[in-house]
């Protein structure tokens, strides 16, 4: 049976059963899970925003904490979905054999992987939702525009979940997941218009960031929303995220199928 890398998966509403399995686990330890998105923005804001930021007069006409606030949310969206669908999914797939147990039931592997991705996206949504009031308490974001970040977090989270799942599908072992984490996620964290404007990068690198660093687009949108200043690129960022998410979603499902169905 030959299947390509871009065979469109057949799915049913059963994908939500996998999603609700992961939600049940998440809710069992909700205290520890709700902790990071609450603390993380505080640490970054104090260290970079109010610490380092004291030496920065104005950046693009605004205070430094105000500049990095949307980036902190975008980074959290990225990390929560990416790490859920790399280390988290790998542990469920390889060590816990959870996927094997589920595909012995009427669910298909395509539905299992899709459920995992939807859960990764949901985690991003939860984290963004918790971070918003924390950051809003410092008066760094505009309301109600910033509330649109909540639904957007699901979409952007889905993108990073799909990226993570592609790596999970091809990684030889759990340690090798450090490569995408350090060679892809960490550079994105630093160079996607997060802590300094993209325009400071040499022009070729700016193009590279726009083409290959998804976080650039996510920060573009969250910053428009927290400042309540929709930029001309808003729609472009959104289209980029939607198209790439869709392509990588189909790729992730097919790669996983190749790995698990032999």
């Amino acid at each position: 049976m030959s299947r390509g890398y871009f065979t469109v998966p057949k799915l049913s509403s059963r994908v939500w059963k996998v999603w609700s399995r992961n939600r049940s686990v998440f809710m069992k330890t909700w205290r520890v899970n709700f902790f990071p998105p609450f603390v993380e923005p505080l640490l970054y804001l104090f260290a970079l925003g109010f610490g380092l930021g004291r030496y920065i007069e104005l950046i693009e006409g605004m205070s430094y904490p105000r500049f990095i606030a949307p980036a902190l949310i975008a980074i959290s969206i990225m990390n929560s979905a990416f790490f859920e669908c790399t280390y988290g999914s790998y542990v469920r797939m390889y060590y816990q054999k959870t996927f094997d147990a589920i595909i012995a039931t009427p669910l298909s592997i395509e539905e299992v992987i899709t459920g995992e991705l939807l859960w990764g996206a949901t985690r991003s949504l939860i984290y963004a939702t918790i971070m918003l009031p924390v950051i809003a308490a410092f008066g760094l974001i505009e309301l109600p525009d910033s509330l649109l970040i909540i639904p957007f977090a699901f979409l952007a989270g889905f993108l990073f979940a799909a990226i993570g799942m592609c790596f999970t599908a091809i990684t030889p072992n759990i340690n090798a997941l450090n490569y995408p984490a350090f060679l892809f996620i960490t550079p994105m964290f630093l160079f996607s218009g997060t802590f300094f404007p993209l325009e400071l990068l040499p022009q070729p690198l700016q193009y590279f960031a726009l083409a290959a660093l998804p976080l650039t687009h996510v920060v573009g949108i969250t910053r428009s929303l927290t400042l309540a200043e929709p930029s001309g690129f808003f729609v472009l960022h959104l289209v980029w995220i939607c198209v790439v998410s869709l392509v990588l979603f189909v790729l992730a499902v097919n790669l996983m199928r190749r790995r698990l169905i032999v």
């Binding site: 059963k17 039931t105 009427p106």
Partner: protein, 325 residues
């Protein structure tokens, strides 16, 4: 006490129409079923039929192709060629419908360590669209059946090996399956735990559930299986009822004697059927007294053991003694 009648109530819910569908045709039909991984042929054109209500066994050394065959029946591993139907449905085109009727105990424990005993069954029931109201009663009943009711709120890591196997059996029953697939159901268990699992399998069979199992344990196969096949190198070597296989390939009894040239000469004179296994000569016979008398009188031997022939003798005779990795 064991509740042998557990699940009977659950099985009454199975509609008569569903029973009729199953009754008209065999549960599993495999014809020239083949599975190939690149160059390696794991299952080499096997054919077999499993009838409703029977316990059907797959015996064979490691790497014989038993588990691969189970995975094709479960619709989780696609076949390379040949025909395979379960309840009259093709595994390639109707996996979802087939899986709805199956209960699976995999070789490797894959209970969900993120959940308790009770939650494992609850979460699993969701995959089968079981309505929550029914499920709670059913889980209680199943936990009674496998004698884990008092452990229901314990995390999985606190269960012993035998308890985990029993919980997996309970999980496999959560959808009231018509066919139960047990891949090495008692692997690594102590004798008490094995007996308990055997009792459960027998009581499920008594309720009319078809059971397909793989095992390395010959006593397990002889005890449980109505019919079985012995597989090796991806092929089915023999099939039949355990007793019939023993009498056909071995005879009724075995006499084990010391291996030396005098004994061999003696046995050749008698025209006895025998095999040499290291330092033992294994004589197949229906008349053990005569063989023993002859060996003692004519050859003056010391160590002789007579015993009933078992399935293990058939297995070793057919698959050889070479160690499999």
């Amino acid at each position: 006490m064991y509740s042998y009648t557990c699940c009977a109530a659950i099985y009454e819910h199975v509609s008569t129409s569903q029973r009729e569908v199953v009754a008209i045709a065999p549960v599993i039909v495999a014809e020239d079923l083949r599975k190939q991984f690149d160059e390696f042929v794991a299952v080499d054109n096997v054919s077999f039929t499993v009838e409703e209500g029977e316990v059907f066994g797959f015996l064979g050394p490691n790497g014989a192709g038993k588990t691969t065959t189970m995975k094709m029946i479960q619709c989780v591993s696609p076949k390379t060629s040949g025909k395979l139907t379960v309840f009259g449905m093709d595994v390639t085109t109707q996996p979802r419908e087939i899986k709805q009727l199956l209960g699976v105990v995999p070789q490797e424990n894959n209970l969900d360590p993120d959940f308790t005993v009770f939650e494992n069954l609850l979460v699993y029931s969701r995959y089968f669209d079981r309505p929550r109201a029914q499920v709670e009663n059913m889980i209680a009943e199943l936990l009674d059946f496998v004698q884990l009711r008092e452990k229901q709120d314990k995390p999985i890591e606190q269960l012993s090996g035998g308890m985990k196997r029993r919980l997996i059996l309970a999980r496999a029953l959560i959808n009231t399956p018509r066919l139960l697939i047990l891949d090495e159901p008692t692997i690594g268990l102590d004798p008490q735990a094995r007996h308990l699992i055997w009792d459960k399998i027998k009581s499920l069979k008594a309720q009319g559930i078809t059971v397909v199992l793989t095992t390395h344990y010959m006593d397990e196969a002889a005890r449980l299986c109505d019919r079985l096949v012995i597989m090796d190198f991806g092929r089915i070597l023999v099939d039949g009822k355990p007793d019939a296989l023993v009498s056909e390939y071995i005879g009724t009894d075995i006499v084990d004697a010391e291996h030396n040239p005098r004994v061999i000469a003696c046995l050749n004179r008698m025209g006895a059927k025998y095999d040499v296994w290291g330092d033992t000569v294994r004589v197949y016979t229906a008349h053990p007294q005569d063989v023993i008398a002859a060996l003692l009188n004519d050859c003056g031997l010391g160590t002789i053991t007579a015993r009933a022939a078992t399935l293990e003798d058939v297995f070793l005779k057919l698959t050889g003694k070479k160690l499999r990795e």
